[in-house]
């Protein structure tokens, strides 16, 4: 499966960027905010007036991805979002309570449904094809990617637009802080990333998406090692075939314990970098990791390389991606 094109909005200047953002040593604060483009260049003003921030992020990122792919309308659209449209949800809830269920605005209710990003993309490019939205926490992006991969495997479509979008709002940041999520060294992040997947070989293709795998609540570090080894074996590879590992460390020592164990063991001879210092922690951050890996492979195509992405969200939802140069 090939990644023909991609795009990202993130806390780094990634929108429209062909190169990787500069390495950063640590977080600038414990809440990272996206660097957003001028949406008027990407979204019809008539549609944009109803769109809250997360929807604009998703739609603009998708638009740039399609432009990069040279495609006006994809055959299918699959999106992932763990939190959905938080701002609209908060707005509607607030008014509902403040005005005692009277004089409520339909727009924020309509825009609060989780499939709004996917729906608005379809509307903007008149895509009548398959359209699905996954909302399963740390698996949301991975589920969407698998759905797209299965459509291509079945030869039902020539290409699929797959992506994710998640935001952090004042309310969600405050709530997550009360759970202690960002007081141990991790920073809250957000972002949108879209990929155009296809089966067709083409000199424009950026990278090969060899395989993905998810696993849930592994029993311990040994179980994680087994999953990684099995994943590599299924691709007829071993860890020594991997040129770079991109890991999901987020700066919180409890969270990062699994990664440290791997770095001492299975990963100890491989080149290994983190990505959450650039985008922060959020359930669909692995889409940023995939953007990062693909951009790296695209900009340095030779020699042929393989990148393994390993990430977990709250040590509950774990995922592996294998990406290689074309």
């Amino acid at each position: 499966m090939f990644i023909r094109a991609l795009a990202s909005i993130s806390p780094q200047p990634t929108f429209g960027a062909d190169q990787l953002p500069a390495e950063s040593a640590g977080y600038s604060s414990n809440r990272l905010a996206c660097i957003e483009p001028d949406y008027k260049e990407w979204i019809d003003p008539k549609m944009m007036r109803r769109m809250s921030r997360i929807i604009r992020m998703g739609v603009a990122t998708a638009a740039l991805c399609l432009k990069n792919a040279g495609i006006e309308t994809p055959d299918a659209i699959v999106t992932g979002s763990a939190y959905g449209c938080l701002e609209d949800t908060g707005l509607f809830l607030n008014r509902m309570i403040e005005f005692n269920e009277e004089m409520l605005n339909p727009t924020s209710f309509i825009q609060s449904t989780h499939n709004t990003v996917g729906a608005q993309i379809a509307l903007s490019v008149k895509c009548y094809g398959y359209n699905n939205t996954f909302v399963h926490r740390g698996f949301s992006f991975e589920n969407a990617l698998l759905d797209g991969i299965l459509l291509l495997k079945d030869n039902e479509v020539n290409n699929v637009l797959v992506g994710s979008a998640d935001e952090i709002t004042n309310i969600s940041f405050a709530v997550l802080n009360r759970f202690g999520r960002f007081s141990g060294g991790a920073a809250a992040g957000e972002g949108a990333a879209f990929f155009l997947l296809t089966n067709e070989p083409d000199p424009q293709n950026c990278a090969v998406l060899d395989a993905i795998h998810t696993f849930y609540k592994p029993a311990g570090a040994d179980a994680v090692v087994n999953e990684i080894n099995r994943f590599l074996t299924s691709q007829s590879l071993s860890i020594s075939d991997i040129d770079l590992i991109i890991n999901g460390m987020n700066g919180d020592s409890a969270n990062d314990e699994t990664y440290h164990e791997l770095n001492r063991g299975l990963f100890n001879s491989q080149k290994n970098i983190s990505y959450k210092n650039l985008c922060g922690e959020y359930p669909t951050s692995s889409s940023f990791a995939l953007w990062y890996a693909t951009t790296m492979l695209k900009s340095e195509p030779k020699p042929r390389r393989r990148i393994l992405i390993y990430n977990h969200y709250k040590n509950i939802h774990h995922s592996l991606f294998l990406v290689s140069s074309c």
Partner: protein, 404 residues
């Protein structure tokens, strides 16, 4: 369908809604022609006494006991657990490590019934509100709770595409079996009534203050409902090992997008037409093979004319019997696709045609009318079930009698 494509069998069913807490009670309500709508009783809202809803007749505490799970979790999770457990038990499968199993569940509300309560306190003082009321806010949290309770680990996912959510969950689950990733999938969806949803739909002015009248010329809107429905789908290999007959096979499915407007359907029913056509194509069936259509049939001006127009374009002049069971269950949003999938499978197993209640006047745009009687012992070999959601998300499933 290509005869070499793996067959996906429906081996178990589970359902809970305003018309019954399980399959047996549900069928009883149909037989007695008893719909589930009534005045709002469980939620504290200004709309009580004004808007009829179709509530599940159990409190959260009773649901917890019924489903064998903590009652302190969101109501959407309680409903989900009740129906998913019934489906798994009904299938007769004992899960073990040699069976690769998955849970694909859908919902639109997540933990909103509890989040609403949390937010009422939080918005006045960000340090207040019980964290236990917000910890399961996300749609995916509801699914994880049920996956953990049922012991399912191999593949877990949540889909949320408004009213087509659980139909999409079912055929995504089927595809995982067909790709030999899983042997068994519990697929479906759940949604509980919340103030958020009631008020949200009220702002759209598509709620009927009376009991809804889908496909009637004088329909005024929908009634909201709540509930959950799940099917247990298994591979051919696993089915052979079970000492029971499958209810049906999932022979066709498709999803298409209307790409017309955020909430309204196109007048020609483009998305609906594409979904139904796609499902038929996959099943290898012709329109004349369909014995019964379970309509999306919400009772809104817009849905019924769009869906009806699409059906006319596709099926005319020979129409199968059809009805909207939302006249009994109300519109259960994220659960509607799977609740109606359960009805479809029962229709095939028992030869049922469900009635469309409160129908009086044919719609002027259409040259067909829904079925108004509950029929049993009918030849029902192929059933089409439609689910069309906001965002133009249109899905159609086809269930067929298993070949012996």
């Amino acid at each position: 369908m290509n005869h070499t494509d793996p067959v996906v069998y429906i081996a178990g069913l589970g359902i809970i809604s305003a018309i019954g807490n399980n399959v047996a009670e549900t069928l009883d309500s149909f037989e007695k022609m008893l719909p589930g709508m009534q005045e709002i009783s469980m939620l504290d809202t200004i709309h009580r006494g004004e808007l009829p809803v179709a509530e599940v007749k159990l409190s959260n505490k009773e649901l917890g006991e019924f489903a064998g799970i903590s009652p302190l979790i969101p109501r959407t999770a309680l409903l989900s657990m009740a129906a998913a457990k019934e489906a798994l038990n009904d299938s007769g499968v004992e899960l073990n490590s040699s069976i690769r199993s998955g849970l694909i569940s859908a919902n639109t509300t997540g933990g909103m019934d509890l989040s609403e309560q949390f937010f009422a306190d939080f918005r006045l003082d960000p340090g207040s509100g019980h964290l236990r009321d917000i910890v399961n806010h996300e749609c995916g949290a509801v699914t994880d709770l049920v996956a953990d309770a049922l012991g399912i680990k191999d593949y877990i996912s949540t889909i949320s595409t408004a009213c087509s959510s659980s139909a999409n969950a079912i055929f995504f689950g089927a595809r995982l079996i067909r790709h030999n990733m899983l042997d068994l999938v519990i697929a479906g969806g759940s949604d509980a009534l919340t103030k958020f949803t009631i008020n949200g739909f009220n702002t759209l002015m598509i709620l009927d203050k009376e009991f809804c009248k889908p496909f009637d010329e004088n329909r005024k809107g929908l009634n909201l409902g709540e509930g959950a429905g799940y099917v247990v789908m298994v591979s051919e290999k696993l089915m052979k090992g079970l000492r029971k007959k499958p209810y049906a096979v999932l022979s066709g499915y498709a999803n298409a997008n209307d790409a017309y407007h955020q909430t309204a359907s196109s007048p020609e029913g483009t998305g609906s037409w594409l979904a139904m056509t796609g499902a038929l194509k996959r099943s290898g069936l012709n329109t004349v093979d369909i014995d019964y259509i379970n309509l999306h049939g919400t009772g809104t001006q817009n849905n019924d004319v769009a869906e009806g127009t699409a059906i006319r374009r596709l099926f005319s002049p020979e129409y199968p019997r059809m009805s909207s069971t939302k006249t009994f269950t109300g519109h259960t949003l994220g659960a509607s696709g799977s609740i109606e999938a359960v009805f479809s499978c029962l229709a095939i197993e028992k030869g049922l045609i469900y009635p469309n209640l409160r129908f009086n006047t044919p719609m002027k745009e259409l040259d067909f009318i829904p079925e108004t009687k509950y029929l049993t012992g009918q030849p029902v070999n192929h059933v089409m079930s439609n689910s069309f959601g906001f965002g133009g998300n249109c899905s159609s499933l086809i269930f067929s009698k298993p070949q012996v």
